[in-house]
């Protein structure tokens, strides 16, 4: 249940985990998702293996307390996105 802003995706306002077909995984607040893009705000990004942590390790840690944002706003190519899930569900 997100905030029901007209014309926004149902995950608008919700903190999500966005995995990709590459080494990057993102945690940020969903602004919108459309046919071509996943738009996030207040976003952290992790590369698989950085700091000795896998994507799963990173997500588990993020789920405990949250993330330190590295980007105010990011637009991801939806074609590279393999999953979008709520961080609160992890």
């Amino acid at each position: 249940m997100g905030t029901f802003h007209q014309n926004k995706h149902e995950l608008h306002g919700i903190t999500v985990v966005v995995d990709t077909d590459g080494p990057e995984i993102y945690v940020g607040r969903c602004d919108d998702i459309d046919d071509g893009r996943v738009i996030l705000v207040d976003v952290d990004v992790h590369r698989d293996g950085d700091g000795g942590r896998s994507k799963d390790d990173y997500v588990r840690r993020a789920a405990q307390l949250g993330v330190w944002k590295k980007h105010d706003h990011l637009v991801l190519d939806r074609g590279r996105v393999t999953s979008v899930r709520r961080l609160g569900d992890v």
């Binding site: 307390l65 949250g66 709520r86 609160g88």
Partner: protein, 140 residues
């Protein structure tokens, strides 16, 4: 840019009406933390955000209907009382900032934290259940 005080007044009052002390300045936060001593203290970082704060405040109110609860209650309002919020966050430097969020301290140490993403998309009863569990564990 802060919202109109008129807009946020009822959001503040949802917590002050059930005993939360508002910390409006960094000095207020320092004083409240320093006066904590032993015992339990609960700090809510309030916010305007509709998708989470709208569930957080009622959840907090429900959670206080519990046999065990924190001895001291206080709140800062993110985006409104900027210095106070920054000072509150400085007291828990290992925790990424989010709002709304909630911190339970025991004997001056952070023992339980609810980040924003644990509130989003959940109902007040769910938020309250988590908090009651923490109160039962940590509060006398």
């Amino acid at each position: 840019m802060p919202y109109s005080p008129l807009l946020v007044k009822p959001m503040r009052e949802e917590l002050t009406a059930v005993g939360f002390q508002e910390l409006m300045t960094a000095a207020d936060v320092d004083r409240w933390i320093n006066e904590g001593g032993s015992g339990t203290s609960f700090l809510v970082i309030n916010s305007v955000c509709g998708c989470a704060a709208g569930m957080a405040r009622p959840g907090v109110r429900l959670a206080l209907d519990n046999d065990k609860k924190p001895a001291r209650l206080a709140t800062v309002f993110a985006g409104q009382d900027v210095d106070a919020t920054a000072q509150a966050r400085a007291k828990i430097p290992d925790v990424p900032p989010s709002s709304p969020s909630m911190a339970l301290f025991k004997d001056g140490e952070l023992v339980y934290f609810v980040p924003r993403h644990r509130i989003e998309g959940r109902g007040p009863e769910d938020v309250a259940a988590d908090l009651k569990g923490a109160f039962d564990e940590y509060c006398g």
